[in-house]
Symmetry: C2
Subunit: 572 residues, 2 copies
């Protein structure tokens, strides 16, 4: 491909809408174009990248006996009603009606479609285990699309679904897919991706992992310890080891305009070990209030609370009609119809300042064991930076940011049960199969590579997913001999099976290299009248690790060897 | 792949919902599964077929300098408002709102997205010509999905868009794509596809072709002549050569319960040359009535009428409030606010029986030239079987049924003009580029091949798109030696780079062959204790053109040679 013909523009200015560097580079390099909120068109260079990523994914999924299928993007609402998700999933599920008024949805995941596809096939145990996957367009009506391809509303995703007759088999297969995912990231040039335990929440299963690329622009928070422990903060146990405090006498005090933990600390001049935070939720179905009490410096973890209650909740709106007084909510005299949960960050703290459930009044000297009693502490908190590692028990846990570039779940029987999928086992008895599901976003993976593999001038694509392996540059194409040699080498490189982007435009070297940097080909061969005269053609890698020269005669051989070397390094 | 592991069921019974044979075979062979009206999941064998078709399409599009891109399926309504299609397209365009209430559509074609993608890139003449294409999911809310993958609501389609600075360049490129399409059909095993002139209607362009596979189950009607002429009946000129009839005196007669042309012919004992049919439409915008008069045996062609009027119309509803009397509509005394169109099938007929525009009354002896006058005859009729060929002027045109398996359009400036795409030409003057667009449905192509390349037992896949090139059958796998030999040959065939589906299930030969027929692999190698003993393994083609034997030693070589031979035949 000649750059002259390549559809798309490359430019210098950082677009104002780009919040992260990969987003800016993908716009500047002619990889993507904005179509609407969270909607992008892919230009040829990105199309080449995503097709290579898809090929890697396909090979790894086929290697774990996956069979490729294709589910429709548009599905009948009735199918999602079978699993209950038509109502349980929120506004991120796009719902609409067809011309006859029948309800349709846009697939954001395909568990229902997968069960529906194999429900008859899987009626006897001899058919198990099996795994089906697709690489298909998804739509999820994200409230806040951001960072270019990192979080879009429409995206291409590989989603796989495995079916098993036993927990052991599901777990063994899950491990195989876990390794296949590691292969995918390594082969796509992201060996630094880590797998972290994640919350499978109401998905029904017990074990789940997210594959995380640690980067400051990530949306997820991951608790990481030097001992090797890592987990999404949603899933990481929050561990506290409070030194016991001595009890004091309880007193009711006026606290006008004292509402926050900081107000309390200033007014009473106390540390966090004397503070008690109240975070209020309501159950979605019943609107019943739930108050979670935590130490003042600790944040509530909505996912853990939801999992504990086994029902959906949302942050409560407290107004004059609520039974609670904002800023003065506490465990003593809490209205009877309010559920109280106590986080273990409060354990051993026997001298707390708590809201008195009366407007603008607090209690000091509250002892939960004395003044409330019968308390069962639970884990309702986010693991915090500097906290105790749940694996090695040591300080300090660090909290890092990450992009989720894949996830795998042991779903168990959640969908097969709900959708009445059964098989007869060896004795003819009807059983419910177990499922695993395995997702990976193609565009997000491409953007993630760009985010961590770049310099100030553009992406540094790994050889395996680069749009073109080699960029051939002809400087001063007005010089007939130079141009003729470059043209000949272009043909020879292609004949050698290399993917070449060829820039022979009559532009300044600076302008040509700026665009070459944006296209990010890992290997670059530059031919100019000057280096041709010296028979020392410039051969460099985009990451500057190789800067050498080659001769006219050896150019193709040396380029090919360098390409092979880069592939080899990737597979180390 | 072993059949034991292949996801999907193959069965004998023709499913009651299958209206055409390819639909039945695709259900019976485990290729597709119904998800909802016009929505199917693709099982692994079909997934393999469509990927091969996509590869052929990609190669041919790249060969005509196409650059692959990807547009989103979901697009903002605003983008379709730019071209005016948000309102001009009917209910087949799925429209919905996102969580914020913004209008979205599901792409059924991507002219708007294409223009939007290259509007900036194409600002200068030096960038032209160029072509971008995608292979992407589409949704079109068809009122009547039918025949399995022949007409679905969701489908995968290759759609390409070319941009040009002159009519000549557009036409020259159009011819290249036309040849590329011929290559695609030939390579996919459908050399019999013909290209027919089609109506580009309100698409704005003047030249368009549909690629048609002639088959009785087709939805389109194509006028074909021995001279080589072919056109969609929508687009074929209808030519008539009436012998002049002598005029007679006009008389008003009572015609109670006489409404149809057949009623008239029976009552008055006349031929069609004395009958005058009135077909009534209304303009969509104004509801104004339009009456088209044709000879009694001729059908009106709504497309031609719409093109002539340059406005959208629909078949009129005639009731007591209409200015017209159903069954008695005629050219004489037609209400002044009704538009009359005269089809050339009435030319030279001077003794007609026509409705009198009075309830239950007709005129006999109507002469249009005498009684109406100033008539301009036009072509508002469907070309009819047995009619005159517009190319050679001879009888008889035949009307055949066809499936449209692709289409190409010279769009001209319709979209570039509406969406304000401009480029500066060599003299710096702003110009509007011309466009071509090129579509081909992947699933429909697969189903079309199945429809015309099959026998009573299953599809006969062309080698180029067959899910597997070779089916290896091991009969009596309980015989250890037979099974071992078959296993070894399976490995050797794969090592030779062949795609093999291997059936070594302990089932009757009849059951195994029935399933093999449904999978339709073009080459079959059968190993049984009996033929192994004779060292005469059975080697046959699915279409029965080859029935031979090979030896244990030569099996792999002979299978490979047969596969190569089939590819060679396809490319003849």
């Amino acid at each position: 491909m000649k750059v002259t013909n390549l559809v798309g523009d490359r430019f210098k200015e950082r677009p104002s809408e780009a919040s992260v560097d990969s987003h800016a580079l993908m716009l500047r390099g002619g990889y993507i174009k904005f179509v609407g909120s969270g909607l992008y068109s892919q230009l040829p260079p990105l199309q080449r990248i995503t097709q290579k990523i898809e090929r890697i994914i396909r090979e790894e999924m086929n290697a774990v006996d996956g069979q490729e299928v294709l589910f429709p993007v548009v599905m009948p609402a009735a199918l999602w009603q079978e699993s209950g998700r038509y109502t349980s999933v929120g506004a991120e599920l796009a719902r609409f009606e067809d011309r006859s008024g029948a309800g349709l949805v846009l697939g954001m995941t395909h568990e229902e479609a997968a069960v529906s596809l194999v429900r008859e096939f899987g009626q006897t145990y001899t058919r198990y285990p099996f795994m089906i996957y697709q690489i298909q367009t998804k739509f999820r009506d994200e409230p806040r699309p951001r960072a270019g391809l990192i979080r879009t509303r429409e995206f291409t995703m590989k989603d796989g679904y495995s079916f098993h007759t036993s927990q052991e088999d599901m777990e063994a297969y899950y491990s195989r897919v876990h390794r296949a995912y590691e292969n995918i990231y390594r082969r796509a040039g992201l060996p630094q991706v880590i797998s972290v335990a994640s919350d499978s929440g109401m998905m029904g299963g017990k074990v789940a992992h997210e594959f995380m690329l640690l980067t400051p622009i990530g949306e997820d928070s991951i608790a990481v310890c030097n001992c090797g422990y890592s987990a999404n903060v949603e899933a990481a146990p929050a561990i506290f080891n409070n030194a016991p405090t001595a009890a004091a006498e309880r007193e009711l005090v006026d606290t006008p305009r004292i509402a926050t933990i900081e107000d309390i600390r200033k007014r009473f001049k106390v540390g966090f070990e004397q503070t008690c935070k109240a975070v209020v939720y309501q159950e979605r179905d019943t609107l019943k209030y739930i108050v979670v009490f935590l130490r003042g410096d600790i944040e509530a973890n909505e996912t853990k609370i939801r999992n504990h209650l086994k029902t959906d909740i949302f942050p409560a709106a407290i107004d004059e009609n609520s039974p609670l007084f904002a800023g003065s909510i506490g465990p003593v005299n809490l209205p009877a119809n309010v559920t109280a949960l106590y986080d273990s960050s409060l354990k051993n703290l026997e001298n707390l300042i708590c809201g008195a459930n009366v407007s603008e009044k607090h209690f000091t000297g509250v002892s939960l064991s004395r003044d409330v009693g019968g308390i069962e502490y639970g884990d309702f908190a986010k693991a915090q930076s500097g906290g105790i590692c749940p694996k090695c028990g040591q300080l300090p846990l660090s909290i890092e940011r990450g992009i989720e570039v894949g996830n795998i779940f042991q779903l168990g029987t959640k969908y097969s049960e709900a959708m009445n999928m059964r098989y007869s086992d060896e004795s003819g008895k009807l059983q419910t199969p177990l499922m695993g599901c395995y997702g990976i976003g193609v565009g997000r993976l491409a953007a993630s590579v760009c985010e961590v593999s770049r310099d100030d001038y553009g992406p540094i694509w790994p050889i395996s997913i680069a749009p073109w392996e080699v960029e051939l540059v002809c400087l001063r194409p007005d010089d007939a001999e130079t141009h003729a040699v470059a043209d000949a080498i272009y043909k020879d490189l292609q004949a050698a099976g290399l993917e070449v982007i060829y820039d022979d435009r009559a532009m300044s070297a600076g302008a040509v290299f700026a665009e070459a940097d944006l296209l990010g080909s890992p290997v670059r061969l530059v031919i100019s009248p000057k280096n041709l005269k010296a028979d020392a053609l410039e051969l460099v890698t985009r990451d500057k690790s190789v800067k050498t020269t080659t001769t006219r005669e050896n150019a193709v051989r040396d380029v090919a060897q360098l390409v092979v070397k880069l592939y080899t390094e990737l597979n180390k």
